[in-house]
C-alpha cells in the first residue's frame, strides 16, 4: 500500500494511481518561460497532466524536493535506476568552459552537474527526447550573437533523434500535443528541422487571420493598427507555426491580433535572423512561397485570357488593389477585381508579391536562400542526422556573419 492511500487520501484520489510514464524535465540555460507557458494549458491543465498523463519526477520549478533530495531524483534518472522515461529539456546547452556556465545540481563532493553532463546521460536512457521551446530546439535568445556562453541546441549534443517543439515560449498545446503523440502513436511526422508538422506544417502567413489585408494591399504603417503587419517587419511569411488558428493563453489572442508583427520565434534562426524585429522581409522569395518566372507568365497569361486590363493586374500585384477597391466602386470594376482575385487564388500562394522583391535587395535574402536550400535538402531525406558535438575554441564560436551589425 502506498503512502498516498493513507496520507491525503482525497488528493491521492484526485491525482490517480494508474500507470503514467515518468517524465524528467531539465531546465538548462533558460528563462523558465517554457514550463510557465506549459502550465497555461486550459483543459489539459497541470492537474489533469499530473493525474492522468505523466508522472513528473524532476521539474526544478514544481517539484517538492530540494537540495540533496532533488539531486537524488536526478541521479537516479541519470544512472539508470529510474528505467525508461521521457525527457523534456528547456533552454540551450552552454559549452563554454566545459559547460561550466550553468550548474543544475551539486554532488556532495562539490562537483557541479552541468546541463551538458545531465542531458548526455539522460538522453541515452530516454524513450523520447523533446526540446521544449526555441532555446532547446535551435539555440534561441541566449545563443544569439555573440553567443557569450557558446551555447548550442540540444540536438547538437545528443546522438539521437530530438523532437523540436520550438516557440518562445513553447505553446502548451504544441508541447503536450507532441508528448501525447509520442505516448500514444510514437514519433509524429517531422519536418526537416525535426518539428512536428502537426503544429509547424504551415506558415503563419498562410494561416493569418489578416491575410485578406495582405492580399488587398492594406498595410499597417505603425504599431497598433488593425491591418497587415508585413511592412512593420512581420516574419509570418517565413515562420512555420499555427498561432493564427490556435491562438495563445486560452485561445484568446496572438501577436498579430495584438497589432504587432510576428517575430518568428519558432524559426531556427530566431532571434538573429529575425531581428531587427521591425525590419521588413526582403520580398517573399521564400521557402514554400517561391514564385518562378513560369508562374508569373501564367499569371499574366491568365489575366489576359480573363479579359482584364493589365493595369488592373498590375495594381493587384503591387498591392494597390485595396485603394482601388475603395475609390472606384463601379459594379464592373468590382466584378473584375473579384475575377482577378479568383485567378490569383488558383495560383501558388505568394505570386502577388514578386514585384515587392524588385524594389530592394536586402543582404538577408542570402539567409533566406540558405533557408530554402536547407528546406530543399530536407525534402530529400526523411530525418535529419543530428550533428555531433564539436569542441570549438570560444573565439570561433557561433558568431554568424551579420553584415549590418558592425560594432
Amino acid at each position: 500500500m502506498s503512502l498516498a492511500n493513507i496520507f491525503l487520501p482525497h488528493l491521492a484520489q484526485a491525482l490517480g494511481n494508474e500507470e503514467r510514464p515518468p517524465v524528467i524535465w531539465i531546465e538548462a540555460t533558460t528563462c523558465t518561460g517554457d514550463i510557465l507557458s506549459a502550465i497555461n494549458a486550459v483543459d489539459h491543465d497541470l492537474r489533469h497532466l499530473l493525474s492522468s498523463v505523466i508522472d513528473l519526477r524532476y521539474q526544478q520549478l514544481l517539484m517538492g524536493g530540494e537540495g540533496s533530495v532533488a539531486r537524488e531524483v536526478l541521479e537516479q534518472a541519470m544512472d539508470g535506476r529510474l528505467g525508461r522515461f521521457l525527457l523534456i529539456v528547456e533552454g540551450t546547452i552552454p559549452l563554454r568552459a566545459g559547460g561550466g556556465f550553468n550548474v543544475i545540481a551539486r554532488r556532495p563532493s562539490g562537483h557541479g552537474i552541468t546541463p551538458l553532463e545531465a542531458v548526455r546521460e539522460l538522453g541515452q536512457r530516454a524513450s523520447h527526447v523533446l526540446a521544449a521551446g526555441v532555446c532547446a530546439s535551435f539555440g534561441g535568445p541566449f545563443a544569439a550573437n555573440p553567443n557569450p556562453t557558446q551555447s548550442v541546441p540540444l540536438h547538437q549534443v545528443l546522438d539521437r533523434r530530438v523532437i523540436n517543439v520550438p516557440g518562445c515560449p513553447v505553446h502548451p498545446d504544441w508541447l503536450w500535443g507532441t508528448l501525447t503523440h509520442c505516448l500514444l502513436y510514437g514519433t509524429p511526422d517531422l519536418d526537416s528541422f525535426s518539428r512536428p508538422t502537426l503544429f509547424f506544417g504551415q506558415t503563419v502567413h498562410d494561416l493569418c487571420t489578416r491575410r485578406q489585408f495582405f492580399d488587398n494591399g492594406i498595410f499597417a504603417s505603425e504599431l497598433g493598427q488593425p491591418t497587415c503587419m508585413y511592412k512593420l517587419g512581420c516574419k509570418g511569411p517565413v515562420t512555420f507555426a499555427d498561432c493564427p488558428r490556435r491562438q495563445w493563453n486560452g485561445h484568446l489572442s496572438w501577436p498579430v491580433e495584438a497589432n504587432t508583427p510576428c517575430i518568428g520565434c519558432t524559426s531556427p534562426e530566431f532571434p538573429d535572423r529575425m531581428t531587427p524585429f521591425y525590419a521588413r522581409l526582403p520580398g517573399l522569395e521564400l521557402p514554400g512561397v517561391r514564385v518562378s518566372t513560369a508562374t508569373l507568365t501564367k499569371l499574366v497569361a491568365g489575366a489576359t485570357a480573363a479579359g482584364i486590363g493589365l493595369h488592373l493586374a498590375g495594381k493587384v500585384l503591387t498591392g494597390r488593389l485595396g485603394q482601388t477597391y475603395r475609390k472606384e466602386r463601379t459594379p464592373t470594376e468590382i466584378q473584375e477585381i473579384v475575377r482577378v482575385k479568383k485567378i490569383l487564388r488558383a495560383l501558388p500562394p505568394g505570386c502577388g508579391t514578386r514585384i515587392e522583391s524588385r524594389r530592394q535587395e536586402d543582404p538577408r535574402s542570402v539567409t533566406l536562400r540558405h533557408l530554402r536550400k536547407v528546406k530543399a535538402r530536407g525534402r530529400g531525406q526523411e530525418s535529419r542526422t543530428p550533428r555531433k558535438l564539436e569542441e570549438r575554441p570560444p573565439e570561433q564560436g557561433d558568431r554568424p556573419a551579420r553584415g549590418e551589425r558592425k560594432v
Binding site: S2, L3, A4, L8, L11, A14, L15, P22, T30, C31, T32, G33, L36, V42, D55, L56, Q59, Q60, L61, L62, M63, G64, G65, E66, G67, S68, V69, A70, E72, F101, N102, V103, I104, A105, R106, G112, G140, P141, F142, A144, N145, P146, P148, C168, P169, E222, L223, G224, W248, N249, G250, S253, E257, A258, N259, T260, T275, P276, Y278, V407
Partner: protein, 470 residues
C-alpha cells in the same frame, strides 16, 4: 563540535538555478551563509549593436515569470532616449497587463514555489520525495491549502489570460512597446477583463489570503526568522499618466526607519565574490566587465549592488512599507503577507484602470529612433526595483545594462564582507536537522528570488552619467 558545511543545491522552486551554502556551528546555527548563482547568460552582451526597438522584446526573454516587467522597463528607457511620451490610454493598458502579470507571479510564487516547503502535499511525484522535517500543519488543513494549489493552476492561468488580452501572448508578450501599447481597449475587452478581475479577486479573498493566514497560524515563529535587512529600496510600481515618474504605488529608500528620496548615483556594485574581473565598487553604469570563472574567492555570477554601502531589500514588503499599508519588520512570513496584500491591492488598481480606459483615444505614439541618446527605465517589477539603462549610438544600442530586484536581494557579500539581504536573513538561524535544512528554503524563497533575472554581465567602454530620480 566542529563547524559543518551544508549545501542546498539545487535550491528548487525558484526561477533559475540557485544554491545556498551555509556553515553551521556545533549547535546547528548558521554562522556563515552564501547565496550562489551558478548560472550566467550574458543578455546585455547579446543586446549590443542591435536596433534599440528590439530591446523590449529581447529583454523579456531574460525571465519567463516577469517578462512584461522587462519589456516595460526597456520601453521606458527607450522612450526617455527618444523623448517620446506615451498617451495616457497606452499607459493604462500597459499597467493593466503588467498588473495581471504581477497577479500571476504572486499566485504562482505562493502556491507553487513557497507554500510546499511548509505544507505536506500528496505523497506522489512531483510533490514527493521531499524534506519531511518540521511539517506542522494537520492533514485536514493541508488538504484545504492544496485545494487552493489546484485552484491556483486555473487562476494564475486566468491572470496570464488577462495579460494576453492586451499583450497577444504571455510569457513574452508583444503589447508593451516603446511609445505605448498596441491593443486598443474596447467595451468587450474591458468587460471581459473586468470579469477576469472579479474571479481573481474572489480567489485571493477565498484562498490566497486565508491560506497565508493558515500557514502563519502554524508557523508563527517565522515572523521572527529571516529578518536582518538593513533597509528598503523601491522604485514604486505602475508609472502614472501623464508623468511616468509618478507611480501608483510610491517608492523611495528606507534607512534606519526613515524614508529618504532615491538617488541612483549612490548605487555601487561590488564584485569581490562574483566571477567578474573588474574594478569593484563602481557605479553600475561604469567600467568593463569580463567573466573570470577561476577567480579566487568568487562564488556567484550575481554582483552585489549596494546603496550608500548598505545592502537594501526590495520587493512587495518594501512597496507596502512606502505605501503605508503594511509596516512589519521584514521576516519570512511578513514578506509573504506583504506579497498577498499587494496582490489584493493590484486587483483593485486594475479594475480602476480598466474603468478609466477610453476606447476612442490612442494607445501608441509613433517616434523615430534617435541618432544618439541615452535613457533609463526604472520600474517596480514583481520582485522589486528593476532598472534598464540604454545608450544609443548611430541608431544602435551602444551599451545596455540591467539591474534586477533579485540582484539586490540575492547578491553575494560585498567588499567589506557585509552580507546581502538573503545572506543576512540566514545568519543565526537554528537548523533542526542538518540533513534536511528545510528552514533555509523557507526563508530564502520568501524573497521570491529570480536568478534568471539576477545573473547578467555589464560591458562597454563608455560611462553613463548618473541619474537622479525626482
Amino acid at each position: 563540535m566542529a563547524n559543518r558545511k551544508v549545501v542546498v543545491g539545487p535550491m528548487t522552486r525558484v526561477n533559475g538555478m540557485w544554491e545556498i551554502h551555509v556553515t553551521l556551528d556545533g549547535q546547528n546555527r548558521v554562522v556563515e551563509a552564501r547565496s550562489a548563482s551558478p548560472f550566467w547568460r550574458g543578455m546585455e552582451l547579446i543586446l549590443q549593436s542591435r536596433d534599440p526597438r528590439d530591446a523590449p522584446y529581447l529583454t523579456e526573454r531574460i525571465c519567463g515569470i516577469c517578462s512584461s516587467a522587462h519589456g516595460y522597463a526597456a520601453s521606458l528607457a527607450l522612450e526617455e532616449a527618444a523623448g517620446v511620451e506615451p498617451p495616457p490610454n497606452g499607459i493604462l493598458v500597459r499597467n493593466v497587463l503588467l498588473g495581471a502579470d504581477f497577479l500571476q507571479n504572486h499566485i504562482r510564487h505562493f502556491y507553487f514555489l513557497h507554500m510546499p516547503a511548509f505544507v505536506a502535499g500528496p505523497e506522489q511525484p512531483p510533490f514527493a520525495p521531499r524534506f519531511t522535517t518540521d511539517l506542522r500543519i494537520p492533514r485536514r488543513v493541508s488538504e484545504t491549502i492544496y485545494q487552493g494549489y489546484f485552484r491556483a493552476i486555473d487562476e494564475s492561468r486566468r491572470a496570464h489570460e488577462l495579460a494576453a488580452l492586451f499583450s497577444g501572448k504571455v510569457p513574452h508578450g508583444h503589447g508593451v512597446v516603446a511609445g505605448g501599447a498596441t491593443v486598443h481597449p474596447d467595451s468587450e475587452k474591458i468587460l471581459r477583463a473586468l470579469g477576469m478581475v472579479s474571479k481573481l479577486r474572489s480567489f485571493i479573498d477565498e484562498h490566497y489570503l486565508p491560506d497565508v493566514e493558515r500557514i502563519a497560524e502554524y508557523y508563527p515563529d517565522y515572523f521572527s526568522i529571516g529578518g536582518g535587512t538593513e533597509g528598503f529600496f523601491s522604485f514604486g510600481a505602475f508609472p502614472q499618466a501623464p508623468h511616468k515618474k509618478k507611480t501608483a504605488i510610491p517608492g523611495g529608500v528606507m534607512l534606519e526607519g526613515r524614508r529618504e528620496e532615491l538617488d541612483l548615483s549612490a548605487i555601487e556594485e561590488h564584485v569581490r565574490f562574483s566571477y567578474y574581473d573588474q574594478e569593484s565598487r563602481q557605479h553600475p553604469a561604469k567600467g568593463t566587465t569580463e567573466v573570470a570563472l577561476e577567480k579566487p574567492g568568487a562564488y556567484t555570477f550575481v554582483k552585489a549592488p549596494r546603496y550608500k554601502g548598505r545592502a537594501l531589500e526590495t520587493g512587495p514588503i518594501a512597496r507596502m512599507w512606502f505605501a503605508g499599508r503594511y509596516r512589519e519588520e521584514p521576516s519570512t512570513l511578513s514578506r509573504t503577507v506583504a506579497r498577498a496584500l499587494e496582490a489584493r491591492l493590484i486587483v483593485d488598481l486594475i479594475e480602476e484602470w480598466l474603468l478609466a480606459m477610453d476606447p476612442s483615444s490612442p494607445v501608441f505614439e509613433p517616434f523615430e529612433v534617435p541618432e544618439e541618446g541615452r535613457g533609463v527605465g526604472i520600474l517596480g517589477a514583481m520582485r522589486g526595483a528593476l532598472g534598464h539603462w540604454v545608450e544609443i549610438s548611430s541608431r544602435r544600442i551602444a551599451r545596455y545594462q540591467i539591474i534586477t530586484p533579485s540582484a539586490w536581494n540575492c547578491s553575494p557579500s560585498d567588499d567589506t564582507g557585509r552580507p546581502s539581504p538573503v545572506e543576512a536573513a540566514l545568519l543565526g538561524v537554528q537548523v533542526q536537522n542538518p540533513e534536511e535544512p528545510v528552514e533555509l528554503g523557507r526563508i530564502v524563497r520568501s524573497f521570491d528570488p529570480c536568478l534568471s533575472c539576477a545573473t547578467h554581465v555589464i560591458k562597454g567602454g563608455r560611462r553613463l552619467t548618473s541619474f537622479q530620480i525626482i
